[in-house]
Symmetry: C2
Subunit: 199 residues, 2 copies
DNA sequence: GGCGCTCCTGGTCAAGTGTCCAAGTCCGGC
DNA sequence: GCCGGACTTGGACACTTGACCAGGAGCGCC
């Protein structure tokens, strides 16, 4: 089947994501990826200069995709009051983790891999940049709806909520106990109420 | 140099930790570890049945050691009021991360590695078990000193603080901005004040 | 002294790894 | 028609990896 190099790259990235999600980054060899994409191995180094280039693209794609996924979930929640909005947002994210554990495990693997590899250095930074900025926007929008403002810099509040949810997700992956994790979400949402005041 | 198999295992585990901390889990091959321990490669499979057995011991050792490190740091903090104690504890942990970033990156790598490998399944669980239980004890002790009790189950509060700190650590490793991270710690300590009441 | 167990060593093996390449196929433009 | 560049392919390469083993060395105990 004949197609452009760019199209090949997209297919290989998609195949790589499937393999990495299913078997982990360590087992995602060039052969496994090419095989998943149903292509001969030779195409790999025609489409990509190196495996690192593929990994870099994978990380970028994953970050964009899960941001979109989560946005959609968060925005589909009830908006009675700020507490409900915040708890809904946290819950939406956590639901996504519970529904796609391997996908989130993959993001942790990619982050650590990027932090170890100088050539992927900025990949990790960009990954979190996406999340922080997006989270910040959501927080500002929510506060605006209810005529509130934050008592702390929004960037700090954004980083706080992102940290809780990111840490809790990893914690749940390793430890389990979904009910208790959801209690933590409720606790966090209530805590967030202490970080706003009427405008 | 003649020594018992158990002694060899300890030396190899220590060497493995050095290699993994410096170069990452992926680059910690049996050869690199044996070389770091200044032993011929042959000893490896005399001391250990497999590499997994070594990794399992490494994870166990790391968890115990960093628990001890952090306990010592936390307990050496001022104890004027509960807020200072909690903030001191969070700060002590975060200081440890800033001082030994590679060590903490390693714990994330080990966690993800364990979650991918069915044979290391319980390694990840045990890792978090250490932290959760220890954290819980510290919280109970602190509340006790000031005649307070928690408004939520202690296990949930413990998991909340652990999640914040764990998520923030990973976040800082990837993104940086230490000052902002410390603001998150302050925010968290203040939030924790809303989870206690006089007894 | 010699038996038996533990410890030590260098080399070797099969499997897998990322990378590369020569030769071939396709197809649009001259 | 055919030329040139983009795409395709199977096979090869140099290297690394975890695992294994035969044979030797040390040492306590009868």
């Amino acid at each position: 089947m004949r197609m452009s190099a760019e199209e090949r790259r997209d297919l290989l990235v998609a195949a790589a994501i499937r393999v990495m999600t299913r078997d982990g980054v360590a087992r995602a060899t060039t052969r496994a990826i090419a095989s998943e994409a149903e292509m001969p191995l030779g195409v790999f180094h025609y489409a990509f200069h190196s495996k690192q280039e593929l990994v870099s693209r994978v990380a970028e794609t994953i970050a964009q995709r899960s941001k979109a996924d989560i946005d959609a979930a968060v925005l589909s929640r009830p908006t009675d009051d700020l507490f409900q909005v915040v708890l809904g947002g946290l819950t939406a994210y956590f639901d996504h983790v519970v529904d796609h554990p391997d996908e989130h495990l993959l993001t942790y693997e990619l982050t650590t891999a990027a932090l170890r590899d100088p050539e992927l250095e900025d990949v990790a930074r960009r990954q979190y940049d996406y999340y922080l900025k997006e989270n910040e926007q959501l927080l500002l929008a929510a506060a605006d709806v209810f005529g509130l403002q934050f008592t702390e810099p929004v960037s700090v509040v954004s980083r706080y909520t992102l940290s809780v949810v990111d840490g809790l997700a990893l914690n749940w992956l390793a430890w389990g106990d979904e009910d208790q994790a959801r209690q933590v979400l409720a606790l966090t949402a209530r805590a967030a109420m202490g970080m706003v005041r009427p405008r």
